[in-house]
Amino acid sequence: MEAYIYLSPAVCVLAAFWFLPVILSIIISFTNWKGLDTWSTVKWVGLANYKNVLTDGEFQQSLLNTFHYVLFSVPLTMVISLGVAMLLNTRIRGRAFFRTFYFLPFVTTWVAISIVWRYFYHREFGLANHFLHTLGLPRLRWLSEPQGVIAMLLQNIGITIKNPILAGPSLAMFSIILTSIWRMIGYYMIIFLAGLQNIDKSYYEAADIDGANAWVKFRRITLPLLSPITFFILIISMINSFKVFVPMLIMTPNGGPDNTTSTIVFHLYEKGFQGLWLMGHASAVAYILCLILVVITLLQNTIFGRSVHYGG
């Protein structure tokens, strides 16, 4: 029975602030809760909140923005961090030095670095436009450009894209994606590096004897043996990307140009804690986000789970 005494502090806090809210949240999402209403003043509205959320144009836009964010930031971050980890995993000088530099952005706070990048992307005197200017390229509007990046690229060769899904994330969103790549590379690099160092060197020696080149070694040894790590990173980076909020709040406080940087959590914040304080609506948004995450995780498990190579 002593065990319960040891458990009680953690369980009390968890019960009050983790378990209970999960249930309360469902109930609130079925009511027309606004601001600081009480249980006696709210009305049960059934699935109306969910229906409102799903038919809300703003929510659909934020859903699309979030998907764009995830589709661009997750693969790019993973490829770059794997590349850096592979470079750092060879015998080179100054390894610890490089590792510290690449990791440094991750320890800094989102709020502070978002302010720095907001300045970096400034239309008139930002460093990003200075670089473009030096290269003789036209300046961009960065954080205030609602046009999709794919559409902008294809426009140069004369193809116009009207469909907002195919147009890709707006340049404003893409700027934020670049920032988040910059911030997250170090974190995933460390995990990849640990995975790479865990691979037995004898595989590579055997491959050398067989005369395999670098690409074959990467494709046939590194990738399969690294797949559990890659899978883990894929899942956590997807989950984290779906919940992105802070850089949007700092860099584009009003949801960006044409609302193109408003994400699901940003939408939740605006509906639940600003303006009308629609708690019921916001709870429904939170549950839809939760559902998306569950579905994505399950999908990944069924699609990639089989090709993950454990052991060996």
Partner: protein, 419 residues
Amino acid sequence: MKYTGLPLSDIQRQKYKRHNYYFNIILFIGLFLGFHWLGPSTIVLYLLSFGILSLKFPDQTSKKKSHLFWVLSILGLVANVFFILMLYRSSLDMNRFLEFALDWWPTPLTPVAVSKGLLFLFLILICLFYLKPRHPGIIARNLKYQVLLIGGFFMILPFYWMLITSFKSYDEALAFPPTWWPGRFQFSNWVEAWNAPKSNTYGDPPIPLTFTRYFSISVSVGLVTTAGVLATSALAAYAFSKMNFFGKGIFFYLIIAMMMVPGQVLLIPNYLTLARLGWLDRYAALIVPWLANVFTIFLMRQFFMTIPDDLWDSAQIDGAGRFRFLWQIMIPLSKPVMITAGIFAFLGNWNSLFWPLIVTTRPEMRTLMVGLQAFNQDAGSEFHLLMAASTFAVLPVVIMFFFLQRFFIQGIARTGIKS
């Protein structure tokens, strides 16, 4: 292996590698300065000298050198001399001359011009790779260094920019083209930024509000929460790893399931609970909900499982109780995991924005991050002050990182491997 050279001694090899490393760094700095002073034409020179660098310090000294080697060497030497000369001359305002001489970079970027440029790069690369068998590994290594250096440059650039702008004057911070080194260091920015929140103060009597207040709230809330999380998690993890009790499986399953729930689901009910309790704008709102963390419990439980049960048996023989065993044996043994968990708890708390943002409405109860966010909204385009504020918001964590780097990196690496 096609080359037929004399093998080098280990000492010579070490020397070559060291030189190779330093020359890579010098070349990179040259690229940066050249780009800054001379413009894009530097890229040509950069690639040429890169080629030379790949040839100058081979792993093996080759007796027979091809004509191409000499051609490229001389070309690279000329390019390097020209490069240094132009660096010197550019300060004498010879920019126009140089741009005229090396104006291969097309200013309106047309497809023809781009393909010309690409063809040029391609030719250089062909030259480089033609020489590859003679000097194995050198080109790849130089490429590696250059990629890492250029990448590292962009990783550090925002930090440099933040720090250097924090010393600029208002006008210089808004200058275009931007300056890489402030004309005059204006250290008063830091003081001004530190005292900036004062203008937001209201209330009766008004509390003098500076970043001192934000910092003290963030530090005290962070320390109390971290201590609380470590205590509750250690106790719970101890129960889960070393004791048997009814419902252990269910409890543990619930905790694992909690890790899957996104924190956003909890925000609204927790906010309403705190509002009902009258805790909004109080320290309790910032601390109490975060006093237990499922991830920390899980992390510690995993570590505690690796401590053998024999220790408990022998401790019992010596007459120690369960709590004494936890306090005197388990916790000292699991110091690394405690430090890692502590760092993550503190960082998570220090960096959190959403929760403190919604539970604080009065300015004097803001944490550092909320204060910074509010300052960002108020300051508009006063970037010199914003950068100063960002610098001192980032500084404590960066200093902590340099002291505890080992624990950061081990902790993250462990989460990856354990999965």
